[in-house]
């Protein structure tokens, strides 16, 4: 027996447990959303994904409604599009500056702006008070908390709880006065936050922003993305390296990264400024007359070998101890232990990840 629904006149198969939204997305039927992140439990807040289902009086949120056999769904009727436009106009009425959001703020930061254009929500209707109070007083150098742009979709709160398991932030107050907060409305650094940046990357408005990337907002030129692997540890998180010309301007997690599915840690997300740091080492240095001076790799290796041999000679083979870096991939870690065991005949080898 097959399960099918009729979606906009076409028969579509589905598997048990799929929501209408998931079915629609699988067959490339575009349904707008703002509170949706497919890594998170469907929340049903923005109501943009509403669709008409035959036999049900009011439109239903497709993200929280399971497909059932024989269901007849219309995803884009005139009525539905009118509701979506009104919803977008309402959202824009309290977040009129969406178009000014720099894409460097985060991966999803343009979602609101794009939908506003699509639904021609230009802020001309439903003018009124604006919600959200930015925390420009938060001194942390990584996560910008610009809640003037917050639309209360709570993707940040949910990603922090469901994906990262930190529960560092939550929703304070009710209704129009809801505000994303840490305990007792404090700074992130005094909370459970690990600065993984997942809240930044899922924020659909740029209310949360990557402050490190934003330092390069004024660099001219378009942002290019290059797929790479985070070099920090052996997990192998996929990242997109953001560049403008030959300048590295940011790192974003790859949502389709097989190892990380959009997650990064504080190092992978925010610790990339060393790449372009003025004091970064560009050649090996050796000490001559007590001073570090640039040298060739050849010379550096020879000096290192000399040092190891000297230690071994003076103190015996167990005087050598190697700690491999957590950033080393398997192959390099293997080489380190080989180097220590075969080269010196000792088992004194470890890895910093054990600490």
């Amino acid at each position: 027996m097959t399960n099918t629904i009729t979606l906009d006149g076409k028969s579509v198969e589905f598997t048990d447990g799929e929501t209408i939204y998931e079915v629609a997305r699988r067959v490339s039927t575009a349904i707008p959303t703002l509170c949706y992140d497919d890594r998170l439990e469907a929340f049903g807040a923005c109501r943009l994904c509403v669709v008409e289902v035959e036999g049900i009086r009011n439109p239903v949120a497709s993200c929280t409604t399971m497909a059932t056999d024989g269901m007849v769904v219309k995803s884009r009727t005139e009525t539905i599009e009118k509701h979506r436009k009104t919803l977008m106009e309402l959202v824009v009425s309290e977040n009129p500056k969406g178009a000014e959001i720099d894409p460097l703020r985060g991966l999803a930061s343009q979602e609101l702006a794009h939908l506003a254009v699509q639904y021609e929500a230009d802020g001309s209707r439903f003018e009124g008070a604006q919600s959200g109070r930015s925390r420009t007083d938060d001194p942390n150098p990584m996560i910008l908390r610009d809640y003037d742009h917050c639309i209360s979709c709570y993707r940040c709160v949910r990603v922090c709880a469901e994906q990262e398991g930190d529960y560092a932030i939550s929703v304070a107050n009710r209704g129009f006065h809801t505000q994303i907060t840490t305990e007792f409305a404090g700074f992130l650094e005094n909370s459970e936050c690990t600065f993984c940046g997942q809240c930044v990357q899922t924020c659909p408005t740029g209310a949360l922003g990557d402050q490190r990337a934003l330092k390069h907002a004024d660099v001219p030129g378009p942002v290019e993305k290059t797929r790479s692997i985070c070099p920090y540890c052996g997990v192998g998180c996929s990242v997109d390296i953001l560049t403008k010309g030959d300048k590295l301007v940011g790192v974003q997690p790859a949502m389709d990264g097989p190892a990380n599915e959009g997650a990064l840690c504080v190092k992978g997300q925010f610790a990339w400024e060393w790449v372009q740091h003025g004091e970064r080492l560009k050649t090996p240095l050796v000490r001559r007359d007590g001073e570090l001076v640039p040298a060739t790799w050849e010379e550096a290796f020879e000096r290192a070998a000399e040092g190891f041999r000297g230690v071994e000679k003076r103190h015996g083979r167990h005087a050598v101890y190697a700690v491999a870096s957590g950033r080393a991939p398997h192959e390099s870690a293997y080489s380190v232990q080989k180097f220590v065991r075969a080269g010196f005949g000792t088992n004194y080898v470890d890895n910093c990840s054990r600490a």
């Binding site: 703002l34 469907a42 929340f43 049903g44 807040a45 923005c46 109501r47 943009l48 509403v50 009011n58 439109p59 949120a61 929280t64 399971m66 009525t79 009118k82 509701h83 009104t86 919803l87 309402l90 959202v91 009425s93 309290e94 209707r125 439903f126 003018e127 009124g128 008070a129 919600s131 639309i151 209360s152 709570y154 709880a161 529960y167 560092a168 932030i169 939550s170 929703v171 304070a172 107050n173 009710r174 209704g175 129009f176 006065h177 809801t178 907060t181 840490t182 305990e183 007792f184 409305a185 909370s191 459970e192």
Partner: protein, 552 residues
């Protein structure tokens, strides 16, 4: 003094411990301090940020020292008419609170755990809520049949007229199926507003897999203009408890919670006394009357949030979670308290159960007018001679209630509007309606929990609408976009803001209402625009006056 640890140890082993533990700290310290929240977070293993967010959701938890001691004065629509602004100014440190359910004897003032009544220029007094007047139509009643008897709240008083007879018979002689059949046959439907057939709900819980099952009595009577559940619990608590126990017997649930609104602290004492009395007599608790059936009832007090009257918000609140409504399906009958099958029933619904089982389904059906089954308690307030709770046959004409029973408007005045379902049903101008869902829904309104507020021709309709929308904005949980932003925008427009052009203003109000009504995630957002819709439809002259006054 009781230590933090004592309080945590007292509540941690109990079911649904968060709210009572928070109340224990609130009352010990006079507010919820950072240290208290840290102790609760650690004790119940709730992330601190989550707990902080959840506590800020409820408007009655004070977070500044001495906050619990400060008077909260009802500024609901009726109390406003009776001078709540003046009373607020007179009482030192007083803050307004939404309707606290004493529209028949305003103005309620809450101070610590005292539920007082005040009038501008007078001393606050601690007097019990008024009893319903004897049925003015001389009709037979269901819930109110014995509520006026002296001592009815005691076990002896309750048993005098056959109280607990239905439960005794059920556990000793009947099967759950027999109880379900009788409730089905009676036509009893949810009296909290949604009107879902009670028998069907119970059957769904009985048949749903999962254990333990739970009965929740929804006593979070937060709808402005509704004060019927309070009078039932205050004067006839055993009727509610018996209804819960029968629900437990019929569905296989072994425990029940009364989720009581914060504003009724005295009611908590009455309920707890009644539970203790019934437990001592072997009518509640383990092995009721020596049978295999056990049923325990716990009272849990809310902390100020209208949305917690919505059953899935209520369940989240009981579980100690952020009280956003849940997405449905699944419904509570299969995934309720702690994701187990749960029947959530209103106080009045549960209070109807024992009389129905005692006197028969046909008797109950026959109480209604014409084809309508049963009765409904209406909380009537505002500009009528005799406000109060009235138990009417379903299908009674509104005019009969307003004019024959309640004495009509004050002399020299005419009724300009009545609200339905408290505020949720919007305004009704045409009084030629009957009090039943088919008729009222046909008029774009609904009976709901049965609160009717009456406003005579001296009242400003636009301002009443603004107060109503401001209430909904205050109580919007903030989860779904249309309600969170829509209630705010409608409040602003009813305050005179919005487009200068009158037609553009009306189009905005209508568009917001249409989208809220169609796509909001729960009943609050769906019902709130009935206020503006009925205002635009039935009071165009008042709207035009507002819009003209702006241009002057």
């Amino acid at each position: 003094m009781t230590t933090d640890q004592d309080l945590v140890e007292r509540w941690k082993p109990e079911p649904a411990p968060l709210l009572p533990l928070l109340h224990a700290f609130h009352e010990r310290d006079g507010y919820l301090s950072e240290e208290a929240l840290r102790a609760v977070s650690k004790g119940l293993r709730i992330p601190l940020a989550d707990l902080y967010g959840t506590v800020t959701f409820y408007h009655h938890f004070a977070r500044e020292p001495e906050g619990w001691k400060k008077p909260r004065v009802c500024d609901g629509p009726i109390c406003k008419l009776r001078g709540s602004d003046q009373l607020l100014a007179e009482l030192e440190g007083a803050t307004p609170m939404p309707c606290a359910g004493r529209c028949d004897d305003p103005i309620p003032v809450l101070r610590e755990n005292l539920y007082l009544v005040g009038r501008p220029g007078e001393e606050l007094r601690d007097t019990p809520a008024p009893l319903p007047a004897p049925n003015p139509g001389g009709l037979e009643e269901c819930c109110f049949a014995h509520v006026r008897s002296e001592g009815r709240a005691t076990l002896a008083g309750y048993r005098e007229t056959g109280g607990y007879r239905a439960l005794v018979r059920a556990v000793q002689e009947q099967t759950p199926a027999m109880v379900l059949d009788a409730i089905d046959a009676s036509g009893l439907a949810g009296r909290g507003g949604a009107g879902f057939p009670t028998g069907r709900k119970w059957r769904a819980v009985a048949e749903a897999p999962g254990d333990p099952k739970t009965i929740v009595c929804n006593a979070d009577e937060g709808e402005p203009g509704c004060f019927k559940d309070r009078v039932l619990m205050d004067y006839d608590p055993h009727a509610v408890l018996e209804g819960m126990a029968l629900a437990g017997f019929a569905t296989g649930a072994k425990r029940g919670f009364v989720y009581l609104r914060y504003e009724y602290p005295h009611t908590q004492l009455i309920l707890e006394r009644a539970i203790a009395e019934a437990t001592k007599a072997g009518i509640l608790g383990d092995h009721i009357l020596g049978t295999a059936f056990s049923f325990h009832i716990y009272v849990r007090r809310g902390a100020g949030a209208y949305i917690c009257g919505e059953e899935t918000s209520l369940l989240n609140s009981l579980e100690g979670k952020h009280p956003f409504p849940r997405n449905r399906p699944p419904y509570p009958v299969t995934h309720g308290f702690e994701d187990k099958p749960t029947a959530v029933n209103n106080v009045e619904t549960l209070a109807s159960v024992a009389p129905i089982l005692d006197r028969g389904a046909d008797w109950y059906r026959g109480l209604g007018e014409g084809d309508h089954a049963g009765t409904k308690i209406i909380s009537l307030s505002g500009d009528v001679e005799r406000p109060g709770n009235y138990e009417v046959p379903i299908g009674t004409s509104l005019r009969t209630l307003l004019f024959d029973w309640a004495g009509g408007p004050k002399s020299g005045r005419e009724i300009q509007a009545v609200t339905m379902a408290g505020l949720s049903g919007g305004f009704i101008r045409d009084l030629d309606v009957t009090l039943d869902e088919p008729c009222l829904r046909g008029k774009g309104s609904f009976l709901g929990a049965g609160g009717i507020m009456v406003f005579d021709d001296s009242r400003d309709m636009v301002d009443l609408a603004r107060q109503a929308m401001s209430f909904f904005a205050h109580e919007s949980c903030g989860k779904c976009f249309p309600c969170r932003i829509g209630t705010q925008r409608l409040t602003e427009r009813l305050s005179g803001e919005g487009p200068a052009d009158a037609e553009a203003w009306k189009t905005e109000v209508h568009d917001i209402g249409a989208t809220m009504g169609a796509v909001s995630a729960c009943g609050l957002g769906i019902a709130a625009p009935l206020i503006t819709e009925s205002l635009l439809r039935d009071y165009p002259e008042a709207v035009d006056a507002l819009l003209e006054a702006r241009t002057r």
